[in-house]
Each structure stands twice: as structure tokens, then as C-alpha cells.
């Protein structure tokens, strides 16, 4: 009786859901690693997915990047002007973009666009028995559906982050020149003087981890759709929410890790 009561509590159900998720992700990641390095990789499908993930995300990422850079430049400019610190805007904007905002904002945008796309597309394939058909023909949905998407995200996201880094700083420069009346040459020079390779890579390298945080859970939620189209919507929502949370949480630990590495070097 007490056991049944505990089993029906929201907390208990939540814990079970979390354990199921991590168990499922663990198994899927293991299978992905095994099949990627042991079996055949469908490079044609990978290229198709790079186009879907990378190329099709370009407008969203560029708009987000340029507006982020412009807003940061404007806000820092307005704030620092009061203390005569307007000249520090290029330093601040470039460091924040390269270390945090570039990778995190780009990943969140990709989580929303690509994560939702993966979960809904794969979920619909489950509902319409296309995944069963792949298995029934003696082929693997992991190799034809999941691996190309994971590799494509792993390749595309860092490239998108690299682009964001440039575009965001360009946005900052535009506002610095037009609103804060900073000389563009001075702005660029300050960025070059301030930014080190460590600053760049501490942000850029995070994007490889973020790519996995987006692609693997999104495919997992798509593959675990069971009871019709209603669950496709739920899987899509879960994919976006969970991958965004994973990006934000892992960002803290990665920042901490790079901070330790910087201190040691």
C-alpha cells in the first residue's frame, strides 16, 4: 500500500524519468561510439545533414550573433561612458563573445532549431513505421538516422560558433563606431591586443561538447516516441528543453575546467 503510494508521487515519477533518460542516453551513446568507429558511416547522409544543420541555421545564427554583439556594445558603452570607460568596450565585448556568449547563444539557437527538427522528424518516422522498416530490411536506424545527425551537428556547430564570434564582434564594432564614436581601427586593434588563443579556444572547444548535448538527446527523444503523433510534440518540446539545459549546465563545468587549465598553464 505504502509502496504504491510512493510510486505514484510526482517526485518518484520524476526521478524514474531522469534515471530512464540518463540510462537511455548512456546506452545510445555507447552504441553510437561503437557503430561510428566499427561500422560503415554514410558520408552522403552526413553531408546532407551538414547542409540541414549548418547551412539552414545560418540566417538564425547570423541575426542572433549580430544583434547580441550590437546590444552588448551599446549597453557597455552606455554604462561605462559615465565613468569614462567607453574605450574598454572592444575588450569587454570581444572577451565575452569569444568565451561565453558566442558558443552558448549559438548552441541555444541550434538546440531550438535543430534539436526540435531531429526529435520531430525521427518521432514521425517512428509513428509511420519508417524506423521499423529500416530495421525490417536488416539495416540500422542508428547508422542511417542517428549517426549522420550527430556527426553533422558535431561538425557544424563549431563552424557556426566560429562565424558567430566574427559576426558578433562586427556587430559590436558597428555600434562602437556609429553610436559610441569609437574609431574602427582602434576597435579592431583593441580586440587583437586583448584576445589570446586561450580566450578563443576556451569558447570554441565548448561547442563540440554542446553539439553532443544537442544531437544525442534530440535523437533519443525522437526514437523513444511510442504512442502516436501526440508524443511527437512532447518529444520535440523535451528535446529543446533538455538540450538547452544540458548546454547551460555543461557550460558552467566547461568554463570551470578551462579556468583550471588556464591557472595551471
Amino acid at each position: 500500500m505504502i509502496h504504491a503510494l510512493i510510486a505514484s508521487t510526482p517526485l518518484y515519477l520524476f526521478i524514474i524519468e531522469i534515471l530512464k533518460f540518463f540510462g537511455g542516453i548512456g546506452v545510445l551513446s555507447f552504441q553510437l561510439l561503437r557503430d561510428t568507429f566499427k561500422g560503415k558511416v554514410y558520408w552522403k547522409l552526413v553531408v546532407e545533414q551538414i547542409f540541414q544543420v549548418g547551412n539552414r541555421s545560418l540566417p538564425l545564427v547570423v541575426v542572433t550573433a549580430i544583434s547580441t554583439g550590437m546590444v552588448m556594445s551599446l549597453q557597455f558603452g552606455l554604462g561605462l561612458e559615465k565613468f569614462g570607460g567607453k574605450l574598454y568596450v572592444p575588450k569587454l565585448v570581444s572577451l565575452i563573445v569569444l568565451r561565453e556568449m558566442g558558443p552558448v547563444f549559438t548552441s541555444l539557437m541550434v538546440a531550438a532549431r535543430v534539436g526540435a527538427g531531429f526529435a520531430s522528424e525521427i518521432g514521425s518516422m517512428v509513428v509511420t513505421q519508417q524506423i521499423d522498416a529500416i530495421r525490417a530490411m536488416g539495416t540500422s536506424p542508428l547508422k542511417t538516422i542517428v549517426i549522420p545527425r550527430v556527426i553533422a551537428t558535431f561538425v557544424s556547430l563549431p563552424l557556426l560558433v566560429a562565424l558567430t564570434n566574427v559576426v558578433s564582434n562586427f556587430g559590436g564594432l558597428l555600434v562602437g563606431y556609429s553610436e559610441l564614436k569609437l574609431d574602427p581601427n582602434f576597435y579592431v586593434l583593441k580586440i587583437i591586443q586583448t584576445v589570446t588563443l586561450m580566450d578563443y579556444f576556451s569558447g570554441f572547444l565548448k561547442s563540440f561538447v554542446f553539439a553532443l548535448c544537442i544531437a544525442i538527446p534530440s535523437c533519443y527523444f525522437g526514437l523513444t516516441v511510442k504512442n502516436g503523433t501526440k508524443e511527437v510534440g512532447m518529444a520535440t518540446t523535451k528535446a529543446v528543453v533538455v538540450s538547452s539545459i544540458l548546454v547551460l549546465v555543461s557550460n558552467f563545468f566547461l568554463s570551470k575546467l578551462f579556468w583550471i587549465i588556464e591557472r595551471l598553464t
Binding site: T128, Q129, Q130, D132, A133, R135, G138, T139
Partner: protein, 240 residues
């Protein structure tokens, strides 16, 4: 030969299959019939390892497959074709790519050979102009025929039909029946899950009727007509 012994499966607390046993000899076509929800499709799916029974054995050509892992099932799945209810065509691929998929995956045929095979197959199924179309551009009947055509690309020894005529008009139903009969004439062994009794009577050699999780009747078409218990007749007449 396909043999199922003491197949048991539960979903949650509900025991759907309570020891199903049947066998289909080489060249035979068996109809698996029963009311909705008795688990006919689950049995069919289990025959190629898409589902696992809780207990029991499934023999395909003498190989017991219930303990096989996904990789072990590949060779079985190349020989057993599964025709899905809705066709299950890949909607991101054209008809040509759908038909080419199993050949590209499992054979080393050149693209010219694949093209020739697909062209012949679509001609056989009366769909010569469908090559470049996407599944969304096909009618329900055409989707089912393309699904059947795709299932046959690997020249299987066994075919499992899951409601191949569900939702089709009489003309398309007749076309599917003709295809099943043609395949049967080539000696292919098959199992047909259906609610469409005219089709079952037109193409099957024998039928197994599932009731309350067990095979309640198994016999030839003549035996159904002579069955004194009348349970199959009641089902067919909509009284059971």
C-alpha cells in the same frame, strides 16, 4: 518453414498472448485472423525480431530467433520481407530511392543494374511512371504497392503481410490480391494478417484464428466451412 511455439507476451499487466503455436510450411500462405487488439501484428513483428516474446520460440527455417540480437537478425531480415500496413515508405526519398535502399545496403550491384531492377519491378506493379515521385504524391493504393515492391527487391523466401488491403478500394484490393497470388505461385511462403476476409479466402491456403490469446482454430479453408463449433464463422459474420 516458419514455426511459432508457445508464444507468450504481455503488455503491462495484460497478457495478450497466452501460448500461441502454429506453423507454416514452405510455399504455404497462412491467414492470421482475429478481432482487433488480439495481437496479430505483434506476432508478425516478432517473426523478424521487431518485438520479442516474453517466452516461447520462433523458428525461421530451423533457426530459433528469439534470443538473436539486432546484428544477428540481419541475415534473417534479408530473407524475410515485411509488408507494412501503410507502406512505411521513407518520405524523404523518391520511389526510386525507396526501392534502391535495400539493394544499395545489402548488395554490390552497380547503379545501372539497380536501375534496371527497379524499372522492371515498377513495371510489374503497374507503376512505371512513379520512379521520381515522393510517397506524399502517391495514393494510398500506390503507396501499398510500392511498399510491396520494395519488400520484394531482395527476392525474399518469406513474406509477412500486415493488413495489405486495409483502407483500399475494391480495384486496388484486387491488384494486391493478384500480386500476392503471383508471389504464392513462385513458391514463396507467407503469412497474411488481415481483417479483409474476402482477401484472406482468395489468397490463403489455411487460417489460424486467435481468440483470448490462443489459437482457437487452425485449418484449411474447407475445414473452416465444415467447422462445427462455428467460432470462425461467427467472427466472419460479425457475430463473434
Amino acid at each position: 518453414m516458419i514455426e511459432v511455439k508457445n508464444f507468450r507476451k504481455s503488455f503491462g499487466s495484460k497478457e495478450v498472448h497466452k501460448g500461441i503455436t502454429f506453423s507454416v510450411k514452405k510455399g504455404e500462405c497462412m491467414g492470421l485472423i482475429g478481432g482487433s487488439g488480439v495481437g496479430k501484428s505483434v506476432i508478425l513483428r516478432s517473426l523478424i525480431g521487431l518485438e520479442k516474446p516474453d517466452s516461447g520460440e520462433i523458428f525461421i527455417d530451423g533457426e530459433e530467433i528469439t534470443r538473436y540480437k539486432e546484428n544477428d537478425l540481419v541475415e534473417i531480415r534479408k530473407k524475410v520481407a515485411y509488408v507494412f500496413q501503410g507502406g512505411a515508405l521513407f518520405d524523404s526519398m523518391t520511389v526510386y530511392e525507396n526501392l534502391a535502399y535495400p539493394l544499395r545496403e545489402h548488395t554490390k550491384k552497380s547503379e545501372a543494374e539497380i536501375k534496371k531492377m527497379i524499372s522492371d519491378q515498377l513495371g510489374e506493379f503497374g507503376l512505371p511512371a512513379a520512379e521520381g515521385l515522393y510517397p506524399a504524391n502517391l495514393s494510398g493504393g500506390m503507396q501499398k504497392r510500392v511498399g510491396l515492391a520494395r519488400a520484394l527487391m531482395m527476392q525474399p523466401k518469406w513474406i509477412l503481410y500486415d493488413e495489405p488491403t486495409a483502407g483500399l478500394d475494391p480495384s486496388n484490393t484486387r491488384k494486391i490480391q493478384e500480386h500476392i497470388l503471383k508471389l504464392k505461385a513462385t513458391g514463396i511462403t507467407s503469412i497474411l494478417v488481415t481483417h479483409d476476409m474476402p482477401t484472406a479466402f482468395a489468397v490463403c491456403d489455411k487460417m489460424s484464428f486467435i481468440l483470448d490469446g490462443k489459437i482457437a482454430f487452425e485449418g484449411s479453408l474447407d475445414e473452416i466451412h465444415q467447422d462445427k463449433s462455428g467460432i470462425v464463422k461467427k467472427f466472419i459474420d460479425g457475430e463473434g
